[in-house]
Symmetry: C2
Subunit: 333 residues, 2 copies
């Protein structure tokens, strides 16, 4: 009997919180690679906050995803069959393989990377994956932290936020992280964050006011909503607000209010800039080099939050939006 490819297909455009039923489990026969193709057996899948937008086709910055398509997802696995000159059986590869246990690829339609033998799979998909690239590119191109500056990070215990904070520390900044539990805050302290704020139990506005009498030079926003408004209230002159995500918005069913305090950008000669990491593709090689170097030097800590079993993938996605993950949320297939 042929081996089965297990998949999750997009079943419905999410309304409000992502439901398990927005994805549909499906089995289909594994297809053998044609000429110039290779077959990847997945070992890990990554879930991202951006998936919420992909499921809705929001933003228009990626190819549309239709109902019935295999859900878009990054993954890492092993080449198990190959009719491609550059990818051999046994190679460990990473790419946008979709939410499935087996993927046919040709290395051209969407980029596939060979994974360095000395790097663990989970690390590669986490801090060396889109997460670390996002942190590096956003900080380097927009945040531009300088020694002595104060950097505030929301969603700080997430995969990107934790790298952002550590990069700021490496740049000589004072770093304040905002997260939603004591466990997360404790972890951030262990990572070297100078101060942590638990937004679920503390008055964030008052804490920032006390911690940053001279204002915030770089605010990295993963969440949007009230926290963005509070941060805009405490900008230093010439501040940079990096809009990376808006997880507080993704699950909203109606229109979400915008940042009332945006006009402080005027008084503080400040900028607010958004980005999608794919825009900075040219920066990826230097980003990967930087991240590998810091990893090897032990200067970049990371945590992967791993669920076991392919069938757990939709649950992993829900964990993200409920803020239950610590560091990168992965699924071990």
């Amino acid at each position: 009997m042929a081996e089965m490819n297990r998949q999750f297909l997009l079943n419905a455009r999410p309304v409000g919180e992502v439901k398990l039923s927005d994805l549909r489990y499906h089995e289909t026969a594994v297809i053998e690679p044609g000429d110039g193709e290779f077959l990847v057996e997945m070992q890990y899948l990554a879930v991202e906050p951006a998936m919420r937008g992909w499921m809705e086709n929001r933003g228009g910055y990626m190819a549309p995803l239709e109902i019935g398509d295999v859900m878009r997802s990054f993954g890492l696995g092993e080449v198990v069959q190959s009719r491609h000159p550059q990818f051999a059986v046994g190679d460990r590869v990473s790419g946008t393989f979709g939410m499935q246990t087996h993927a046919l690829a040709n290395g051209a339609d969407s980029p596939v990377s060979l994974v360095d033998p000395d790097i663990e799979s989970a690390t590669y998909l986490g801090v060396l994956g889109v997460t670390g690239l996002t942190a590096y590119c956003g900080m380097t191109a927009i945040g531009k932290p300088e020694a002595g500056e104060t950097v505030l990070v929301s969603g700080a215990a997430g995969a990107t936020g934790s790298v952002v904070g550590q990069m700021a520390k490496l740049a000589g900044c004072r770093v304040i992280g905002i997260a939603g539990s004591q466990v997360k805050c404790d972890w951030l302290s262990r990572l070297g964050f100078d101060e942590v704020i638990n937004y679920k139990t503390e008055d964030v506005d008052q804490r920032i006011k006390r911690l940053c009498p001279n204002g915030v030079d770089v605010y990295w926003d993963n969440v949007g909503g009230d926290l963005l408004d509070v941060a805009l209230n405490h900008l230093a002159m010439g501040a940079r607000v990096v809009i990376c995500g808006g997880i507080s918005r993704y699950n909203a069913t109606g229109p979400v209010p915008g940042p009332q305090n945006y006009f402080n950008l005027v008084f503080k000669n400040a900028l607010m800039q958004g980005f999608v990491v794919s825009h900075y593709r040219k920066m990826f090689p230097e980003a990967v080099q930087f991240l590998k170097e810091k990893l090897r030097a032990g200067q970049l800590q990371h945590h992967e939050d791993i669920l076991d079993g392919f069938e757990q993938t939709p649950v992993a996605l829900q964990r993200l939006f409920r803020g239950e993950n610590l560091g990168k949320q992965l699924v071990r297939v």
Copy 2:
């Protein structure tokens, strides 16, 4: 009998629209200049949208203005007495002299400029004053218009907006202006704007959609509110949103909603940057040179909306917030 100095003092922090009674008329004796001082007899006063914020001490980017202080204002006049080595009787000078007919200055506490003999007073205070500087600095440092790009300007028939649009035309851009009357739109067309939108009679969102199928590369925002949200809806990839003013906000009595569509900054890798022109002081010499050159070459048209009589100053201020002015609003003392 000693000559009287007529003044308008800040009488109350405005709530909602600026009322005539928020300023109080006052007379006091003209004081003779001491050593290192000179006396300026005002010929023109300028009113600015920023005055609303100065009256409230908003933003904290300028020295606080207290109830009973002479209202802050730019002005242009003639030196009529001098005990200062660099300013002689008969010199035409411009500076932040306050809303009064006579001002003592020393050229040090706040900068005073000599006005070129070949430039008309109203022009100097308008296009060569804070208005033109604002347009130049904001476009040069933030907007960075490039040939072939599409530039959208709100408050386009105001003093700054009209210069912004013409600068964009000189840079080889396609320029669309938004204004609030047929008279203003007609004037913009005469200035060379490619398209004009009357926001009081047209569906701005639909017009922009039709006029800018590839999106807006630079949006210069003088007004905030709904127009900012609409513009954010039509950004091109890599767009720059220059937040110069928010006149729609200044008269609000309660909290004003923020831009709901700010998250498009992410999808479009776009930036939104605010500024106060004083932040770009170092750029003023090149700005003045550029503006004078273009004025002399006949490549920069301008209009001053002049009310006669010092007592008209509070009325001039109201005209601004009611959108009744065409070009720079001045008072001939």
